[in-house]
């Protein structure tokens, strides 16, 4: 359980696997929704927008808003449409700075 997270997990005893997000390892519930699991783990900011670099995080949790975008194997994916698997490596989606660089 992560008390620093703005989110409470009702079933904190679920089996965990290791997921790397932006270079940091997290122990997340296996099979969980990636966006939900990262939020519960205390990740507040998922990406910076390519337009202004503004911070964003999951908004709709149903695959419609595209604010929870991350990058997996070089492909932009919606975290809320991705399942947690052991060893998953997740990068931040490129934001404004990367675009200019």
């Amino acid at each position: 359980m992560n008390d620093a997270s703005p989110f409470l997990e009702l079933e904190p005893d679920a089996p965990r696997v290791t997921v790397r997000f932006d270079g940091t390892d997290y122990a997340l519930p296996e099979g969980a929704n990636l966006a939900a699991a990262l939020l519960a783990a205390g990740v507040r900011i998922f990406r910076a927008t390519p337009v202004s670099g503004a911070p964003r995080a999951p908004f709709c949790m149903m695959g419609a808003c595209y604010d929870c975008l991350v990058q997996i194997d070089g492909v932009t994916r919606q975290a809320c449409m991705t399942r947690v698997t052991d060893g998953l490596v997740v990068e931040r989606a490129p934001g404004k700075d990367q675009k200019d660089g």
């Binding site: 390519p50 337009v51 194997d73 070089g74 492909v75 932009t76 490129p94 990367q98 675009k99 660089g101």
Partner: protein, 364 residues
């Protein structure tokens, strides 16, 4: 008279003309269509392009070169007036080839044209390795490219907006949501909402709308729609340095890929087979694109004349009525803003546009 010129069609062609006419001190009225009209101005590929234009008609190549040459100054003036950078880049552009023989055939055509143009056709041929130095992300299957120094691209939507803005700022009257139903000499232009507008001269720059309105003004207007499908990816980190005729990275970061040439009438839909074909070709040229998300696609209708060249024609039966139509409204925008108003006004220093008259289609 409501205006010196009534311009029918408020796309890039009509607004470029309106802008140029306003600069010459005319009172200009623009009648524009609706939100759902076919609008090449918002569906086009954004190239300011010279190579491959006029391979069979050097005058068209020259006309394109002239506009490309005027573009920098035109864009700067629009940017000054509107505070809006148009994202113009004129550092050359490519014609990619996957096939060595095709590349060579194209080069021979370019060389022939270059001779006809007195040597003013600055292109070079890049083999795979030379191209790779310019564009490190190019794929192994690309045989080479022709790099033409006069080519470039612009953000066509920013151009459209800047024109819409500056035409109004200079006092042009732009009426939107209008469908012109009738035009009688004098000129009285009647719209579907019952309004009538009077102008000394009328310019028909209504894109495909000229198919119907052209004959009413005495034009043959032998134009037809030709569909081009375009794909655009999510915003990506910089992947390419220069545009090509089929792939370019727009100033906002998305990679725009096109474009098909389909004779399907007034159907601007997107089809899976063509979109897949376009995607497959793009991935061969830039393999990294395979992992890019396609976020939008569209079909847009080019306004094609039988020989692909623009038509600039004064009506033989209604003097004072002009037809201006082309499928390269972006490339030619600078000409349309700077040169065509001289021609419309019958100015002494007007360009000679006889080669673009409708008379070339007359059956002899």
């Amino acid at each position: 008279m409501d205006a010196d010129y009534a311009i029918i069609g408020g796309g890039v062609v009509g607004l470029s003309l309106a802008w140029g006419l306003l600069k010459r001190g005319h009172r200009v009225l623009v009648l524009d269509g609706s939100d759902g009209s076919f609008r090449a101005s918002r569906g086009n590929f954004g190239l300011v392009w010279v190579q491959s234009k006029g391979l069979n008609e050097p005058a068209y190549a020259r006309w394109s070169q002239r506009s490309a040459g005027l573009w920098r100054d035109f864009a700067a003036e629009l940017a000054d007036a509107t505070g809006r950078d148009l994202g113009l880049q004129q550092q050359g552009g490519y014609d990619f080839h996957l096939d060595e023989a095709e590349l060579e055939a194209k080069v021979r055509q370019y060389e022939a044209l270059k001779d006809q143009l007195g040597g003013d056709y600055p292109f070079e041929v890049l083999g795979h390795n030379a191209l790779k130095r310019e564009e490190p992300n190019i794929g192994p299957r690309v045989a080479g490219a022709i790099l033409h120094a006069q080519d470039g691209h612009v953000n066509p939507l920013k151009l459209l907006q800047a024109l819409a803005d500056d035409v109004r700022r200079m006092g042009g009257r732009v009426l939107t949501g209008q469908t012109v139903t009738d035009i009688v000499p004098g000129f009285a232009v009647t719209c579907a909402d019952g309004t009538t507008h009077r102008a000394a001269r009328v310019v028909l720059s209504a894109g495909l709308g000229a198919m119907e309105l052209g004959p009413k003004l005495g034009f043959a207007a032998p134009i037809r729609p030709q569909r081009g499908q375009v794909l655009i990816t999510e915003k990506l980190p910089k992947l390419m340095n220069r545009p090509s005729g089929i792939i370019r990275q727009v100033d906002e970061g998305g990679v725009q890929i096109g474009d098909s040439k389909e004779e399907v009438g007034l159907d601007d839909s997107v089809t899976l087979d063509t979109a897949a074909q376009i995607a497959a070709r793009a991935v061969k040229v830039y393999p990294d694109l395979a992992r890019a998300q396609l976020v939008r696609s569209w079909g847009a209708l080019r306004i094609m004349s039988p020989d692909g060249l623009p038509i600039y024609q004064q009506s033989p039966t209604m003097p004072g009525a002009y037809l201006v139509t082309c499928h390269s409204g972006i490339t030619l925008a600078a000409n349309h803003a700077r040169e065509l108003p001289l021609w419309l006004d019958g100015a002494a220093d007007a360009p000679d546009l006889e080669v673009f008259s409708e008379r070339r289609f007359a059956v002899s």
